[in-house]
Amino acid sequence: MIEQPISGPTVGHPLVDNAKMSMRDVNVFYGDKQAIFGVDLDIAENQVIAMIGPSGCGKSTFLRSLNRMNDTIDICRVEGTLKLDGQDIYDPKLDVVPLRARVGMVFQKPNPFPKSIYDNVAYGARIHGLVSRRTELDEIVETSLQKAGLWNEVKDRLDEPGTGLSGGQQQRLCIARTIAVSPEVILMDEPCSALDPIATAKIEELIAELSENYTIAIVTHSMQQAARVSHRTAYFHLGKLVEVNETEKVFTNPDHELTEAYITGRFG
């Protein structure tokens, strides 16, 4: 097994020309403990970036800092510059509610509200005041469910509880709920880890379709999934961003020895 201290800058191409989100020198702390060390990374518009790395490497922490989900943890502190379309998302004057509409999130376990399928999808549009008429809301619910590939399966039972759907359907419902508020970026934190292979395949197919119109950042423990769905792959190790490259390159000929060791199963 390979033990190598991490030193030096991120290898590969962490920065791009068409960045939707730009992060510079990001450090994240939980109390005294530092979880993320000086990460520079761009997330390209209408692309999927996969974040991979061993447990505890900071990939989820980093993902959560992209829409200030870390704000909910008292001891968590984020330093550095994080911009969405050039706008500082940690600007104290910025309201996080619209930010989280622009940067939506899908979690590991499907978490539908204990409401009907319809209300699950309509919820965001309602609280963000996106619609004034019921017909508009109906339209948002239908297109969101269609984009999430769930419409045909649920169109005749929109009044039934979202929690009655299968795990894979629930996850697609959560994706529909995220899409309903017209986000620009979708963050996904291991969205398939609780799903069977068929449901996983459907979500992966959906990610590919969504990437035509949305910018997506996905954290995954499945390296094959990262290889299948992403355009770029970022490898985190002990809180540092070790390598970012085209996914094709990362999985055939990574630049960093640690990335190679991780994706080939040489350390755990």
Partner: protein
Amino acid sequence: MDKLHFNEHISKRFNEDLEDLKSQLLEMGGVVEQQTINAVKAIIGADSDLAEKVIAVEDDVDKREVNLDEQCTLVLARRQPAASDLRMVVSVIKITRDLERMGDEAQKIAKMAIQLTESGASPHGYVEIRHIAAIVQQMVNDTLDAFARYDVAMALKVAKQDKTVDQEYASAMREMATFMMEDPRSISRVMNVIWALRALERIGDHAMNIAEHVIYLVEGLDVRHNTASEIEEQLAKR
């Protein structure tokens, strides 16, 4: 230590799978290398018994090819290898193919040896065969060494030798044409020598292909369809 770290997976069985692929490929390489040596010995020494043996080995080579392909498929299915592991499996699949084709060429040389022995061999062209065979056999040996040691410098050396073989082959062809013009009765025998020379030249090509696969395996750089100097340039840039 294994410089591509093929023996350092968390899964020991994965280490063994890859080790197996490597050792079986090298065994197959050894068989084909010996086949080539014996085929040349048979033609120069007018030894049809030895030539028959070379032909008989072909079955074994074919079986090894099928077996290695099957094992590579299983590793792909079971392990979904990535990075150097993936390049290892892909390279083994390709090298196996080249080795099998080398075996076919050795078999052709052996068949020419039998025909030449039966027709009362003439010494015309044997100098050329011996000369090209010496270069090609060294290439085969070096290319297998390069694979065994993941040695890019050695692989590059093999790639460079291919041009020498091509030049020697072209010059041998001119010699053969001269023999045929000088003595038209020798045409059919000289033709057999030409076929053998051609087979040797092809073995050299396959040795070069293997060298390219070794470079891909070690460096992740696809250098096919390039001249040796272009390959050298690409390697120098890294």
